[in-house]
Amino acid sequence: MRRAARILFELIDRWSERVFTPELNPLVQLGALVWYCYWIVIVSGIYLYIFFDTGITRAYASVEYLTNVQWYAGGVMRSLHRYASDAMIPVVTLHMAREFVMDRYRGARWFAWGTGVVLLWFLYASGITGYWVVWDRLAQYVAVATTEWFDALGIFGKPIARNFLNEAAVSGRFFTLMSFIHIAAPLLLLFGMWIHIQRHVQPRVNPPVKLAAGILATLTALSLIHPATSQGPANLDIVPASIGLDWFYLIILPLADRYSGELAWAVALGFSLLIFLLPWLPALKQTPVAQVDLENCNGCGRCANDCPYNAITLQNRTDGKPYKLQSSVNPGLCLSCGICVGACHAASPFRREPQFIAGIELPDTPAAGLRDSIVLASSGLHGDIRILLFNCAAGPDLSSLDDPELAVIALPCIGMLPPSMVDFAIINNHADGVFLTGCRDNDCKYRHGIRWMQERIQRRREPFLREIVPRERIDQYWAGASDLAGLTLRLSAFKRRLRAMPIDNPKTDHA
């Protein structure tokens, strides 16, 4: 089921990449787009607040002034405020669905998932209170329905809905309190969003400029074509029987007023609890986490720099070796992706020891074992050309590829592959070419595996792949779980190029 959903996501991705280009594919920028929409809401909100009157008798008039008299600025800002807020809901929903389908919410990632679920409540609190402050017929419905819904909790001495019983009962102070909550809730939301990304290194909080411009232009166009307007002044003596509801934020209120507040609470709390607990339903069976071997760690810090989850820190040396620092793994944060191994200079297959140990290792996939895999896989290759294909665990299922010229070596993440292993495979003539595949580009399961790998090959990130290694003998295609056809095509083209190359590999004696 999940695999089918993942393939569906990837199909949509491929379509989206064709339309937007891979770099601007909004479906791999969902978290960043939520941040972006948030900033649009904040900037437009600050502008609106300059002209907004928080008194219950003047709030409606001030919003009408913004909407109608100052339509070119205040009106557009009001609409942007509304539509960017609305956009956050589908984008957040897609963001959560995607992380769930791609299985990026369990194990150490429960923290980002759990804080995300809590943030939903702050997001809804921010949105719902925003509708109160306009004090039009919709605001009246929202005020009455929300207070009635809260009264269903039975925690208030007097029903708070009595504050909106009729025109005579309405309380200006209560209204001002809601205006205050509409400012406080988004600030708490921002604080929560900051906590949400705390375990991520280089979190993507800004979408690419062109995508950001596209979204802003779209929302601005929508604001001009279909501006957000009020629905007539509130009058508590008349029931707003028929209203244009914002279904993104207010969907729970009809449930509460049509059926019961208790049912609405059961649905809201039950759903929140269920999705909060998803990381443990079932829990991830995680492979053993990375371990530092002090004998081989010189505290260079590359593993700490490259870990996408802040699981590795540098601390003062404890073993008396003449290095200042040593790496230390926090098992609670480690996802066993092995990207740290790919960053370790000591994970070099050119080392003399038959069973060498890197400075940091994944116990289930030792660097020495990876070297052995290369040698073993290479010895089994028969044909004109020999290709070693490195695939990550979240990549395509390659069991159907029956090709004597191709050997597949699986890794937890492509970022685990030290560049020296590619060097070893080509320069020591274990293969004519090395092919890399795995998750879709811009959508690495471990966030930075593909990017770090590419930068190491391009000598923009340490450890560098040596210049002597012919780059034309390395190819890559980020197929994800579904694009086996695209991968096969790319492999065929790679083979053709390799066949056209001189057969004498620049084998070097490293011994």
Binding site: S16, R18, V19, F20, R82, Y83, D86, A87, P90, Y141, A145, E148, D151, G157, K158, P159, A161, R162, L165, N166, A169, G214, I215, A217, T218, L219, A221, L222, I225, H226, A228, L236, D237, I238, V239, P240, A241, S242, I243, G244, L245, D246, W247, F248, P254, D257, R258
Partner: protein, 167 residues
């Protein structure tokens, strides 16, 4: 030129996104009250009588108390629940016991009840019992009202004003 179809598709995608946001931000229209209906809200807060009368302590009872606790009169805090009844055109449409609020059961009893009724003329009678009596009511008020469609008609209760208030 080769990019023109892609640009058209791009604009279409943004347009679909905008259309979805724009549509669901106000549509479909929600009707919370049917046409030709009015809403009656019965809502008030009122404290019932104490469950027991205060009683004067005997010298023996006073002697058992600590010196600083010797109040001559003892009053239990707990109040009786209210019984409220609303009759519409001769038919009882609400009869509810309202327990006192508070952990000790010494606070006000409250009610917030919505009833949708057809617009038009109606005879309303509201009754409330706030004493220890077993039968009958302590307050009763009646009114003939003309309710307009979508009208929000609130029935309040204030003992100091003589009981139920029909606007």
């Amino acid at each position: 030129m080769r990019d023109i179809p892609r640009w058209i598709l791009l604009v279409l995608h943004y347009a679909v996104f905008a259309a979805l946001i724009g549509f669901f931000s106000t549509r479909p229209v929600y009707r919370q009250l049917g046409p030709d209906l009015a809403l009656i809200k019965l809502s008030f807060g009122h404290a019932g009588m104490h469950k027991e009368d205060c009683h004067k302590l005997t010298p023996e009872e006073l002697a058992k108390l600590a010196a600083n606790m010797r109040q001559p009169v003892s009053c239990k805090r707990e109040r009786v629940p209210l019984l409220v009844e609303l009759e519409l055109d001769g038919e009882v449409i609400l009869r509810q016991s309202l327990p006192p609020s508070g952990i000790a059961g010494d606070g006000e009893s409250t009610i917030y009840h919505r009833i949708e009724v057809p617009a038009g003329q109606h005879d309303l009678t509201a009754r409330l019992r706030d004493s220890r009596r077993e039968e009958g009511f302590d307050y009763e008020s009646a009114a003939r009202v003309e309710l307009a469609p979508e009208q929000n008609y609130v029935i309040d209760f204030r003992a100091e004003s003589g009981g139920f208030i029909f606007p």
